[in-house]
Amino acid sequence: MPDSATRAGRAARDARVVRPRISVVERFRRIAAYHELLVGMTRKELKVKYKNSILGFAWSLLNPLLYLIVFYIAFVKILGSGVPAFPIFLLSGLLVWNLFSIGLSAACTSVVANSGLVKKVAFPREILPLAAVGSMLVHFFLQGAVLVTVLAIIQWSVAWEYVLLLPLALVALLIITGALGIMLSAINVYLRDTQHFLELALLAWFWMTPIVYGFMTIGRRGGLFAKLYMLNPITPVVLVFQRALYNRLNNPKITPTAADPRANQILPHWAITGYLAYLGYAFLVGFVLFAIAIAIFGRSEANFAEEL
């Protein structure tokens, strides 16, 4: 137990102000100060998610596997999709999409789901949606590790210079997911429709992202639709992952041949700077969304404890 002298020292250091509004900068400072809690909460989310389930973490891997089976049957067997090495193509995009969609869904309900904490303890509430995304990040690495292992076993040649872009793409994805998660988690406190609406929105969003079909299916058409299509900030992230892991352009096993008319329909033929520029757009959207999210969250946070 510290004596009163050290207590006074701590008191001066730990002075805290409760105000009607705090600035966005102050908000970021508070979130940063609670990084240890963010880690703890993420761990908690992981624990809670698979508590009382027998397969536990295996679900994290079963989910993409089931998607793969369903889409493989639907696209390759039924619709006759011409994407070579379809499983690898699908999984490199799905890796990104799962982090985004499952992370966002979990973030959306995070404040409501943790009402017990929100009503009793003070901490930056943004931690809750961020921890939801954080726990999905752990699954992402798990799924990613399995995919990479498979690629290594089948001696798949990846595009190394694009692999270097992966961390950057991941950061962009996390910023966008975190921003939308923070925004929706606050709205969902007041309007519980949000979580149901999100399910539908994500379904539409999924098909508007080149995951089960190649980007070039739309990209080579040009025109207004293609331009609008490219506004989707998840697309650049997916493309970087596909370019790095699926590596359509220089993989000897699936090099396009004149005999294959669909050869160039999958990934855009940009130089690495093109991918980088498109990724820059994702960052831009992410930062703008984040600022808006923090502002919305800050405005509505004041009455969380009463609304829940």
């Binding site: 730990d14 703890g40 009455n303």
Partner: protein
């Protein structure tokens, strides 16, 4: 001395919707005309709480006391004003301290303490103490959703007091748990006081304020009514309760008890041949619009009665009970040896108490008219009337025992000699 908590002109409003329109459809239908009213929970509260003091906040339901505590804890943000707190702050608000039901007690301790700002190493260092204090060794690896509410509170309190807080905020929690645990909590609160920590507690129980607080604050409809010595604050609180027509919380057993009590049986068996028609309680305070007695003041109870036919061999009884229904005092005309006139038509009996040596509380009165052999009950008014006593001093308990304290040592003589 620096202030541990400074509350500067804090106001908080809530918008009250008469119905909850939580879904989009309902919002669309009722867009712009959702019936609502602005509810002022806190109105320009301004106060500073010094380091090392214990402050009690009193107020009836809806007075804003819990809202104020939540604002201090940073769980709610005020609409205007600001609150500065200095030091680590642990809060125990109503039930539990924010646990996740799916996690075990152990996991919750770690999560909760880390929210309060402890590192993992700090938590490991106090973990055993927390478990010891909560007395939940056997259940610590069980999910807290299987805990009883008592266990929940115990764990919450154990965490809050073992994370070395500089400021402890407590809301009604001391009222929960078994008596032994309550005593332990109080002990810890007292230890905190000697260690110079700041404590703010919100309670309905005026007795607790008098026992542990240095200072009492009364809130009424969001405004601060008084900020004073505990005794004075308690008295103000009681008076405002009486004025607003709310008696002190009376025992709820009266409603929940299905087996009729002794009094209930007696009342049910009354023949009403002689009936109590009127009861008045008089005391000096009424002259100055004070609704409660001060300890040792005089009190007169007049009971008017009506006999439908001439009745002799009557016995009049009176009993005073505390809020839990325990007898504090009881007598009757036979015990007192007072001859009772034959009742015919209207009459009145007066009970004159020269002084009422009671301390704080609300006391209930039972009045009875029986035959002298107590075989027939003519009328029985069971705890229908009450009076309150308010103690401005800091003495504890039920009875104002006359007491003089004296020292018979040379030291005391010297003190007296120096003329104080």
């Amino acid at each position: 001395m620096t202030a541990a908590i400074e509350i500067r002109h804090v106001s908080k409003h809530f918008r009250l919707y008469h119905e909850h329109y939580g879904s989009l459809k309902e919002r669309m239908i009722h867009f712009g005309r959702i019936p609502s009213e602005d509810f002022v929970a806190l109105n320009d509260i301004d106060l500073a709480i010094d380091e090392g003091t214990t402050v009690g906040i009193l107020g009836h339901n809806g007075s804003g006391k819990s809202t104020l505590l939540k604002c201090m804890a940073g769980i709610l943000q005020p609409n205007a004003g600001e609150i500065v707190t200095r030091g680590r702050l642990a809060a125990l608000l109503e039930l539990g301290a924010g646990f996740h039901p799916e996690l075990t007690g152990r996991e919750n301790i770690f999560m909760n303490a880390s929210i309060l700002g402890l590192s993992k190493r700090d938590i490991s260092a106090v973990f055993d103490e927390i478990v010891d204090f909560s007395e939940l060794e056997k259940f610590i690896d069980m999910q807290v959703r299987h805990y009883s509410s008592g266990m929940y509170v115990r764990l919450g309190f154990a965490v809050a007091v073992n994370v070395d807080p500089d400021i402890l905020l407590v809301d009604e929690v001391l009222a929960v748990g078994d008596e032994a645990f309550q005593r332990k909590c109080l002990q810890r609160v007292k230890q905190f006081q000697t260690e110079g920590r700041t404590i703010v507690c919100v309670t309905h129980a005026p007795d607790l304020i008098r026992r542990i607080c240095d200072r009492g604050i009364v809130l009424d409809h969001g405004s601060m009514v008084i900020d004073a010595q505990p005794g004075e604050a308690v008295r103000t609180f009681r008076e405002s309760l009486l004025r607003s027509g709310l008696a002190d919380p009376t025992p709820e057993d009266a409603e929940t008890e299905h087996i009729p009590s002794h009094g209930g049986r007696m009342a049910a068996s009354a023949t009403h041949r002689v009936k109590i028609t009127r009861v008045t309680i008089e005391h000096p305070g009424l002259l100055v619009d004070r609704h409660a007695l001060l300890p040792n003041e005089a009190m007169t109870i007049r009971v008017g009665y009506h006999a439908s036919e001439p009745t002799e061999d009557l016995l009049f009884g009176i009993a005073i009970h505390d809020e839990d229904g325990n007898d504090v005092f009881g007598t009757n005309t036979k015990v007192a040896g007072v001859p009772v006139p034959i009742a015919d038509g209207d009459g009145q009996v007066t009970f004159d108490f020269e002084h009422v040596p009671l301390l704080d509380g609300t006391y209930l009165i039972t009045l009875a008219i029986q035959s002298n052999d107590e075989g027939t009950v003519y009328d029985w008014s069971d705890q229908q009337h009450h009076f309150s006593v308010m103690n401005p001093e800091r003495t504890l308990g039920l009875v104002a025992l006359p007491l003089q304290v004296r020292f018979d040592t040379p030291y005391a003589e010297r003190l007296e000699g120096s003329g104080s």
